[in-house]
């Protein structure tokens, strides 16, 4: 003889609490994971200049316009090279009587000056390159290109509208 088992499950208070908690957790996850609201003000093409210091003499000839420069630490795209220049690498040194400090050129070394172009995200407090690199004059640079790398500083930014 076959017995038919009758379901005895009925929702109780704690089942409802678990369902409510599950729904709340899902809602929080959806809120947290959704794409950030359009807090970013605008993206504009901008140019800025970096100086890689104390590079081997002649290194600037390895740089080509069109090269992409990356931040060597976080691997963020800093921008595309649109101009290359070079200048003597100098170190400060005082004269014998310590009445003046000169910038004295260091032999066999030079600074490589790169002008980079990138689409910059502009906020009230920062300029951020397409790759996420924060650009500020005086900020440290550890840059690498296709066959060169060096450290230095951001030395110039063309302000928006100038």
């Amino acid at each position: 003889m076959k017995h038919e088992r009758k379901s005895t499950w009925r929702p109780n208070l704690f089942d409802l609490v678990i369902v409510a908690l599950g729904a709340a957790v899902m809602a929080v996850i959806v809120l947290v994971m959704r794409p950030a609201a359009a807090n970013i003000s605008e993206t504009v093409p901008m140019e800025y200049t970096v100086e890689l210091q104390n590079m081997p003499e002649g290194a600037w000839e390895l740089v080509n316009t069109g090269d992409m420069l990356y931040d060597n630490i976080r691997n963020q795209a800093m921008g595309t090279v649109v101009a290359v220049d070079h200048a003597p690498y100098t170190r400060p040194i005082a004269n014998a009587s310590a009445t003046h400090v000169y910038q004295s050129p260091v032999p066999n070394a030079e600074n490589v000056i790169l002008t980079l172009r990138t689409n910059m995200t502009v906020t009230d407090s920062s300029l951020v390159s397409e790759g996420g690199y924060i650009v500020r004059v005086g900020g440290a640079v550890a840059g690498k290109g296709p066959c060169y790398a060096g450290t230095g500083f951001v030395i110039g930014i063309t302000r928006e509208g100038e």
Binding site: V17, P92, A96, A98, H100, S126, L127, R136, V137, G138
Partner: protein, 157 residues
């Protein structure tokens, strides 16, 4: 009829979670709100000294630029004036005597910064609620266009 409801450990866990949620919500929306009573709105003018920077960094500073504290990211004022002079650095002569010596291609800068979001309590000057102005302290600062280390140099009283 005998009631056979018994509390088990899962039920207890859920109860604890619910109590935690309620307590957390209360702390977030009631308790923490009552601590933010004072809105700072006293104008304060102070000076920041930057030493031995290059012309490129001087050129990146403009009157009217907003100034930010690097650690907190908070706005701590607006640059009202920029005074740049040739940098003086410490150098020693052949007799072993120190001199403050003018240095080529480097500048010392005094920025005058104004804020309306200050508060003064006794001899303590605070900007943007958490940023205490301590004359002589070195801090990292930035504007939208430049970054550097500076030193709180003076407060106008």
């Amino acid at each position: 009829m005998k009631k056979n409801f018994r509390l088990n450990w899962v039920d207890l866990l859920i109860l604890v979670l619910m109590v935690g949620l309620v307590a957390g919500t209360y702390m977030k929306f009631r308790v923490s709100k009552t601590t933010n009573v004072v809105e700072p709105q006293t104008p304060i003018t102070y000076q920041v000294q930057i030493t031995n920077i290059r012309k490129t960094t001087v050129d990146a500073l403009r009157e009217g630029d907003a100034l930010f504290d690097d650690d907190s990211g908070r706005k701590i004022g607006t640059i009202r004036s920029i005074e740049a002079t040739p940098a003086l650095t410490l150098a020693v002569d052949t007799e072993g005597v120190y001199h403050m010596t003018e240095t080529d291609d480097r500048y010392d800068v005094i920025l005058t910064v104004e804020t309306k979001e200050g508060s003064i309590s006794g001899n303590t000057y605070t900007v943007a609620r958490i940023y205490t102005l301590n004359i002589g302290s070195f801090r990292d600062f930035h504007t939208k266009y430049s970054t550097w280390q500076g030193r709180i140099w003076g407060i106008e009283r």
